[in-house]
């Protein structure tokens, strides 16, 4: 499989008062198409920061991060917006659905930004809602959904544009066990069917059970990078 993300000697620092807090220290990693990988570690270990930089929501302080051939540090606001819009999907812990839009409109949003023709857009939205099993809720508002349904809408919104990479930050943190497994199975299925690369930031044991690669972070450093054999997944 081709390499789609390259991280070389990445360091990220944040200004804190008069000093600086180093969130990531000298990280070098590479990810291939179709990976189902998670960054795991305790709070403050740098998982979300790493995910944000890969997602071009933040930039490296030092080092080089290349996503789909684009150097994150050198992208303009417009270029990084285009990269996110066309190739990256995001799933957040709190779903971040737009409260005034219906389920359909939330999923449709990403395609509106791509100026996709209406008929094509409608088909893509309905397909995405079918993947996550929410066709019957398409006219509901987010406030009328359960937590699991809300996260499934977020997945549909992230997947509807068929991104190359999907970044999920603690996607199951607000879900019960049953919903968590349902969500993860949906993601796993999408990963297998569409070859979308999934990168998770998590410390949820349930998520870890589905991952094929686990990268452990501690105090901003990679302490372990572990490939999981397939039969373990099926056991999980």
């Amino acid at each position: 499989m081709e390499s789609i993300i390259q991280i070389k000697n990445l360091t990220k620092q944040f200004p804190v008062g008069t000093g600086k807090f180093t969130a990531l220290i000298d990280i070098s990693l590479e990810f291939r198409k179709g990976e189902f990988t998670g960054f795991v570690g305790p709070s403050g270990s740098g998982k979300t920061t790493l995910l944000n930089i890969i997602g071009s929501l933040d930039t490296p302080t030092e080092g080089e991060v290349t996503v789909l051939g684009h150097s994150i540090a050198h992208l303009t606001h417009k270029q990084s917006a285009r990269l996110r819009n066309q190739h990256l999907g995001f799933i957040f812990q709190t779903y971040n659905l737009f409260p005034v839009y219906t389920v359909y409109e939330n999923v449709e949003f990403a395609l509106l930004l791509q100026h996709m023709p209406a008929a094509e857009r409608r088909k893509a939205v309905l397909d995405a809602l079918e993947w996550v099993g929410l066709t019957d809720k398409m006219d509901s508002k987010p406030a009328q959904l359960s937590g699991g349904e809300g996260q499934r809408v977020a997945i549909a919104r992230a997947m509807v544009k068929r991104p190359a990479i999907l970044l999920a930050d603690e996607p199951t943190a607000n879900l019960d066990s049953r919903n968590s497994h349902h969500i993860l199975q949906t993601m796993q299925q999408l990963n297998e069917e569409l070859q979308t690369t999934f990168l998770f930031a998590t410390h949820d044991e349930k998520v870890m059970g589905y991952l094929r690669r686990i990268i452990s972070l501690e105090d901003g450093r990679v302490v372990k990078d572990e490939q999981i054999v397939m039969d373990k997944i099926t056991e999980g």
Binding site: D58, H77, A81, N96, P99, V100, A110
Partner: protein
Amino acid sequence: MLAFKLAFKNIFGAGYRTILNIAVLSFAFVTIIFYNGVIDGWNQQARRDTIEWEIGQGQLWHPSYDPLDYFSYQDAHGPIPEALQAEVSAGRLAPILVAQASAFPQGRMQGVLLKGIPPGQSILKIPTAALEEQDGQVPVLIGKRMAQSIKMKEGDQLLLRWRDKNGTFDALEVTIAGVFDCNVPTIDGGQVWLPLERLQDMLGMPGQATLLVAGEGFTPSGDTGWAFKGHGYLLADLNKIIQSKKGGSGVIYGLLLIIALLAIFDTQVLSIFRRQKEIGTYIALGMTRWQVVGIFTVEGTTYSILAILLGALYGGPLLWYLSEVGWAMPSGSQDIGISIADKIYPVYGAGLIVTTVLLVVVSATLVSFLPARKIAKLRPTDALKGKIQ
């Protein structure tokens, strides 16, 4: 288009906040149009009345005449120039002779201006037909302000005393043949209108006049020595008063607009604070920061557009009704020295409406843009965490 679509959804989703903003802004919108309509209506009415009752299509002044200098009146008279006689005969010029005098109403003495005018003139709306002399009586006309001031009415006798061209005092009892009601105080207060020939006779100035009022069809030409004063000059004071009135009302509607815009500004600031995650999500999904600024700015603009639509809904019939029945002025307003009617009929021109619409839309857009600019500087990761300060 996307920004408009999103803005509409967002503001309709905001419920009562949206209703409040739109209601306040629409009130300001309607009030601004009404205020300006009243001022424009007053302006038009004052100009029209001044033209119809006092200045006609312009005036030719005797070289010594200065209406603001009463001492000039003694010498400000002369024979009507030969070149203008034909115009006077044709009724395109109405000669007026002005002199100072004293009146003695109810045994009191009051300084007055005597103004002689041909009874058959039709240039001014003053009902001079009542000045046709009958039964040896000397008829005079006074305005309603003058009548109130000297406590006299039609049919009453009034004693006048004046000095003729030689400085000799003379006196005469005249009959008030009519009290006219007009909105132009400068032909009313302290003035007594007499038949021109009678006044010329009283002053010993046959064939003389102080000024000539021009009617339709008169074209000033040739050098007669009498200065022609057009509307620009004769209405200058009135225009200044109207302008100062506009300035004063501008403060009031400016305040109204500021209150309405503050509501939008406050909503925008609150929105940006409360909708941080939404802003972060927009960016994460591929919008640029300026596109998000655009959404918030368009939301403010949309408030103003909806406010205008709402204003048109209730303000349209209300303003139309007021333009039909007029707006009654307080009773004391007749005495403030400028042309003002009992009722002012507001006039809402297309220019006024278009200007007000633009003013509301542009200012609402601006106050929405100012707080939204903050989005352009924020870090998306901070927005997603809700960390905007």
